[in-house]
Amino acid sequence: MFEMARADEIRALQERIHGMQRTRLADRTLPTSAALAELLPGGALAAGASYVVDGSTALALELLREPSRAGSWCAVVGMPDLGIEAAAAAGLDLERLVLVPHPGEQWFAVVSALVDAVAVVLVQPPAPARVGESPAARLAARLRRREAVLVAMREWPRAEARLAIAESDWAGAGAGFGHLRARQVTVASRSPAWQGRTRSRRLWLPDASGAVSPVVARVLDEREPDGRARPRMATVG
């Protein structure tokens, strides 16, 4: 028991050291969604890094959006339930999206192979598997060489940042009326680079038009951003 606690402490310390050290001379970055940039160390997806997204497919798709839009290939491994329509609505280019829904036991080999060809791999490791340090380190070397990014939907060693949804509020549905339209989320991000501190941002994921944007505080003097007075009443319907 004591040994376990000590091992955890060592790992935490290692991670702090790892966060303070710069592992690369020049950091290459991938195009990154503006809404999430502030939540990532360095302000962008770092080529060769791995990230953890906890429990939200929409958040993971948002991380994939800009690289895909910039013309890179993306791969999704081990997620048979991914909503393709949502991926398209999030802005991913389906022409350059590849799915390996049921990699089975070979999921790690599949991910390693895919890193050679695609810029971003989104992977959901099977539930009982715990990724060991050494295979993760080997994969990280490969990621750095190919300047690719790994996004894991479950715990992953040496992740550059861990993103999770701390709070989520859907708008549009009531007690038996309306339909889901938009939601506001608070995304919390932990990174070893910030010495264990957590950053969080309030985002629309998605807003009423389907886009992802930061939540802007309501203007108090009830004026539209362009200066016109906001009409007191609006047509409903």
């Binding site: 429990g55 939200s56 497919t57 929409a58 798709l61 290939w73 048979p80 339930d81 991914l82 909503g83 393709i84 329509e85 949502a86 991926a87 398209a88 609505a89 389906l94 999206l97 590849v98 799915l99 390996v100 829904p101 049921h102 990699p103 089975g104 070979q106 080999a109 599949v110 192979a113 895919l114 050679d116 060809a117 695609v118 949804i165 709070e167 989520s168 509020d169 859907w170 549009g172 549905a173 009531g174 007690a175 038996g176 009326f177 309306g178 339909h179 889901l180 339209r181 938009a182 939601r183 989320v185 998605p206 389907g210």
Partner: protein, 517 residues
């Protein structure tokens, strides 16, 4: 008129039906081929029971209740005619295939060689009968049009020998006389076939009686051409085809093999030769047909497509994948045949001097992953049309071409408004939906909810309290077809953690179809 060639046309009646019947091992049974809802070909036994070309499928089934109906597949007829053509070419070079089941050749050479046109016709029918196409008919006449009509014309009656004579020979110069009594529908133009009889012109003879300039003035160039055909002047020659070199890879195993890797190893060398032989013809294969024959006579085949072109190792992979997926083979494999289904000139697939960029790498990597998880393991997504989230997406194996059954551009009234669920369960998860007092929520025929849903309980027993819900929206799809009809109610619900669910109630209970996470 001297330029009109004398031609011999061979016609195998009902070839398309016979080829497809053989494919389905249903020879002799009444069978009809359907395209766009109407009969386009039928077997002789179906014809005897009153089935006619152009008849609607339902009417044909009404006349002949035991009728076997198949979709028309021209590729099968064309493919199975190939061995017959090969047998013909072995005896007489210079055949011109007109359609599957019909081929033409200049009559002079065979007539001289076999000592007369009648003898040539007999020999030709004998050759095709030996190649598996019995009952072929031969027509010899001046011009392709007349010769084909002569071959298709019903036999004149029993010959002195007691059996129907299979050859119809129109004497040289007798073509106009042969054509004159035929109905105008023989021209094969539906517009003229319906217009001319209404003008009182019922036979080709009556049509040719009109002056050529009048016909050209009234019916335009097409009419003038048909007029020339009806007069018996058809200068089209029979263009001999160049028989393709046989580059199929056929491997026979003696004794038969049962293990996939043994078969894959056995075909490896043949696949190398296959790709090399194609390259020798300056061709690459873009679609591949793999056929297995087992000891017990079972047969399995499928066509594999490739986004670029097959290399030898990829051919072996396809053989292995097909064998892994096959279920129909019950006995050891004794023969593997690999044949090119579609080829391209090699120049269109030449790699650039410095490679063809990152896509080449993507393809090779994805092929490697396919080697690990199987052909159907690597998928590319596409959007489709539909009302349920699962219907609105299709997944296509890497390398295959997509067939979108439901067009997204069509209106889909009743589809859910945006945003789409980010998780669409491959298998909908069964769950329970309860109201605040713990009773199951039901929806009656009028779409009224028994009580506001308050809790969802997953199969594993996890309870999630609901904070908001919307719906229900009824969905009744394809009610006219009992096999695919679906009736359900859909509800969106938000649980206390802020995660939203797409819940569906159908005849079997509540399901989670998707999640907005």
């Amino acid at each position: 008129m001297g330029s009109i060639p004398r031609l011999l046309v061979l016609h195998v009646p009902d070839w398309a039906v016979r080829a497809q019947a053989r494919e389905h091992r249903a020879e002799g049974a009444p069978m009809a081929l359907i395209a766009a809802g109407v009969v386009v070909a039928c077997s002789s036994s179906a014809r005897a029971q009153g089935v006619r070309l152009g008849m609607r499928q339902r009417e044909a089934q009404g006349r002949c209740p035991g009728l076997r109906v198949e979709r028309e597949q021209p590729a099968i007829a064309a493919r199975s005619f190939e061995p017959v053509l090969a047998a013909l070419e072995q005896a007489l070079p210079g055949w011109h295939p007109l359609s599957p089941g019909t081929a033409a050749i200049r009559a002079r050479g065979p007539a001289r060689y076999y000592g007369g046109e009648t003898a040539a016709a007999r020999t030709v029918t004998g050759i095709v009968a030996a190649a598996g196409a019995e009952g072929a008919r031969v027509g010899i006449a001046d011009g392709l049009f007349a010769a084909e009509l002569a071959a298709r014309a019903p036999a004149a009656g029993p010959a002195p020998g007691g059996r129907a004579d299979a050859a119809r020979i129109v004497p040289a110069g007798g073509t106009p006389a042969f054509l004159a009594p035929l109905p105008v529908s023989a021209l094969g133009d539906p517009e003229l076939a319906s217009l001319l009889p209404r003008l009182g012109i019922r036979t080709l003879g009556a049509f040719t009686a009109l002056s050529e300039t009048d016909v050209a003035a009234r019916f335009g160039p097409l009419g003038a051409r048909l007029h020339a055909l009806a007069r018996g002047s058809d200068a089209r020659p029979a263009t001999p085809r160049i028989p393709p070199r046989d580059i199929d890879a056929v491997v026979d195993f003696e004794p038969g093999l049962t293990r996939v890797d043994e078969v894959a190893f056995g075909v490896r060398a043949a696949c190398d030769d296959f790709v090399r032989a194609l390259l020798g013809e300056r061709l690459v294969c873009t679609a591949l047909r793999v056929e297995f024959t087992a000891e017990g006579g079972e047969h399995d085949e499928r066509v594999w497509l490739h986004p670029r072109s097959f290399t030898a190792a990829e051919v072996v992979d396809r053989v292995r994948w097909q064998l892994q997926a096959v279920e129909t083979l019950r006995s050891p494999v004794v023969r593997v045949r690999v044949s090119p289904e579609a080829v391209d000139p090699v120049s269109t697939h030449e790699a650039g001097l410095w490679g063809t960029g990152p896509d080449e790498r993507v393809h090779s990597v994805l092929s490697r992953v396919q080697g690990m998880v199987g052909h159907r393991g690597v998928l590319t997504p596409q959007l489709a049309g539909g009302r349920r989230p699962a219907d609105r997406q299709t997944l296509v194996p890497w390398g295959d071409r997509a067939v979108v059954a439901r067009q997204r551009a069509h209106p889909w009234p009743g589809a859910l408004p945006d945003p789409p669920p980010t998780t669409v369960y491959e298998m909908p998860r069964p769950l329970r939906v309860e109201d605040a007092r713990g009773r199951p929520v039901t929806i009656d025929d009028r779409g009224r909810v028994s009580a506001a849903p308050a809790v969802i309980v997953s199969q594993g027993g996890t309870r999630r309290d609901l904070t908001a819900w919307a719906g229900p929206w009824p969905l009744e799809e394809r009610w006219w077809d009992p096999a695919t009809a679906r009736a359900a109610h859909r509800v969106q619900a938000v649980d206390a953690s802020g995660c939203a669910w797409l819940l569906v109630l159908d005849g079997e209970g509540w399901w989670a179809e998707g999640r907005y996470d």
